[in-house]
């Protein structure tokens, strides 16, 4: 069984790797970590403690911590939805964590209920998930000019998770499509 200490160490390592910090309020932090631990016990994976999970890995994949919404949320609001991850400003006490809007699409939120979600209303054909989400959310390819690490997200990471270079060291990869169609 995963211990609270392990859950914390994992989050700390992830925060460090991406240039974030954990919530500086120890009581809040403990509450969130306990929620993550509980979810890992009951679902088998650490799904977001503040969101209703289905318990089915495929449907909950986007909300396994760190969720797909963390990076844009910390970027825009300074903290993630649960306020586990925060930016430097909040970490240093210059700003406070706040409840933020939900970035997860409503169709995804509905999946946990019997009458909701893509499964209960059969769709004619499954759409390729990556293509639709990329066009909806402006995902782009970025590369680290120091070590060559490539990622696919709206904004480049605060810090390169591989070599630790700063955000400014990332450039967008502009894909020329013509060579692909030839």
């Amino acid at each position: 069984m995963t211990t609270l200490k392990e859950v914390r160490q994992r989050a700390e390592a992830d925060a460090k790797m991406h240039g974030y910090a954990l919530n500086p309020d120890e009581e809040m932090l403990q509450g969130i970590l306990k929620g993550l631990k509980r979810n890992e016990e009951r679902y088998g994976y650490p799904s977001c403690p503040c969101r209703l999970a289905t318990g089915q890995l495929e449907k909950d994949r986007d909300i396994i911590c760190p969720c797909d919404y963390r990076d844009p949320d910390v970027e825009e609001y300074g903290n993630c939805y649960c306020a586990l991850y925060v930016n430097q400003e909040i970490s240093e006490g210059k700003a406070e964590v706040q409840p933020i809007p939900e970035r997860r699409p409503p169709q995804k939120l509905e999946q946990a209920y019997t009458s909701g979600g893509p499964d209960s209303a059969p769709e004619p054909a499954a759409k390729p998930a990556v293509v639709s989400s990329a066009s909806e959310t402006n995902l782009k390819f970025w590369f680290c000019k120091v070590c060559g690490y490539v990622c696919f997200r709206e904004e480049p990471p605060h810090k390169c998770p591989i070599c630790g270079a700063k955000q400014e060291m990332f450039s967008e990869i502009l894909l020329g499509m013509n060579w692909m169609t030839r």
């Binding site: 993550l36 999970a53 939120l109």
Partner: protein
């Protein structure tokens, strides 16, 4: 549906809160209501049956709310989403 009642000295409003048992914002909202001394009931949606979850979804959507927690419904009229201290106090006239 298993509604848990929390006693309080202010009983002027019927307060129902939908929460998630693991959610820290929900925990803080429960504590905030307790500190205000208002009587309220809550349901931990993740611990509810599938049938009850569906009823909760319908209840929230009937009031125009999003499926996110905490959601507080006051006197079956006003819906507040999230840990919004000022909004909660204002709606309760405190």
């Amino acid at each position: 549906m298993n509604r848990i009642k929390v006693e309080g000295k202010h009983k002027d409003h019927q307060i129902l809160m939908y929460a998630i048992s693991t959610c820290n914002w929900c925990r803080m909202t429960k504590q905030f209501l307790r500190d205000l001394g208002v009587e309220y009931e809550y349901v931990d949606v993740d611990l509810a049956s599938k049938g009850d979850q569906e009823l909760i979804k319908q209840h929230i959507q009937r009031h125009g709310g999003d499926l996110r927690y905490p959601t507080i419904i006051i006197d079956d009229k006003i819906l507040i989403t999230g840990f919004r201290k000022e909004q909660i106090k204002e709606a309760l006239g405190l």
